[in-house]
């Protein structure tokens, strides 16, 4: 219940506060969101498997978001930002699907 509450609080805050993203950071936002989604699905899987740990979740969430952003930043500096952000999204996408499949097996048994 509490995790869902946190998500809702965040979404409401985002809509109400009307945060404007600086143009310099705009290309990193989708990457950060995909990394956050990956952490969320991973946390869901860990919860269902009964191995969820606060500390691991928070650390992995923040470090994943920062790392993904950092990789894209380095790519931008090297002039291959678009390719590297595609690479990051592909890797994170694969992880999201793997974790989602695990969640589905645990929930539905199929």
């Amino acid at each position: 219940m509490i995790p869902v509450l946190g998500l809702i609080i965040g979404i409401v805050l985002g809509v109400v506060l009307d945060v404007s993203v600086p143009p310099a950071l705009e290309s990193y936002l989708p990457i950060a969101v995909v990394a956050a989604l990956d952490a969320l699905i991973g946390a869901g899987r860990a919860t269902l498997e009964g191995v969820f740990d606060d500390r691991v979740f928070v650390v992995s969430f923040i470090s994943n978001v920062l790392l993904a952003t950092l990789i894209v930043f380095v790519g931008n500096q090297l002039g291959v930002g678009a390719q590297l952000s595609t690479a990051v999204i592909v890797v994170l996408g694969i992880r999201i699907f793997t974790n989602a499949a695990a969640v589905r097996r645990l929930l539905l048994g199929a």
Partner: protein, 240 residues
Amino acid sequence: MLLTLVALALAGLLIAVLVVSGRERAASVSSERSSLVALAQQAREEASALEERVVELDAEVSRLRDAALGAETVGSELATQIGTLGVTAGTEPVQGPGAKVVVSDGETEVSGAEESLSRVLDIDLQQVVNGLWASGAESVAINGQRIGALTAIRSVQEVILVNYTPVVSPYEVLAIGDPRTLPTDFLRSSGGRWLQAVNLSSGIRFTIDSVSSRSVLPAQPVGALRYARPVPADEREDAQ
């Protein structure tokens, strides 16, 4: 537990911000497009208003000219001369029977490189108009654009301009002349032979008909005429 909550709130915040900024971007793109559309609409209205003004001023010019020439013998002779020359120069609207040549683009080819080959080019229309003059046409118009003394038929990129007005396929070239001889003479002229050649080589389609009913060709006002003048002797030092 609190940390988890904060991290989750952060994730929700990120997602919400992404969605909101994406919506804003889409909204700004669509508003930009609609302002461009409005701009184009406004320019078009302005152009048509200016065209109307041209017609008005042209009518005023001929009215003032008639008033200035007056009813005396010399004046009315000049007026008749202006009318006769105006038919050739294209400054007077004309009507009468004649011939109609319709030229249109051929079927567009599938491959990108071949596509432009079956399009009607400015040279094709130039040849048609020259052929019509050579076959005895008195006045010619393309898609309602009268061929006047200063008319140019030329391409700008893919578009053909007649009197600086874009015309599109099918190109209907109306000529006033003898409806019995004009079509056959045109077919034998350089213009007719040119059309047959491009029809065979590029697939451009054309039809030639005689028009026995009256067709009206609009006038094409001529702007200021420019003449070359010799440089006066005292200004010539650099030329030598």
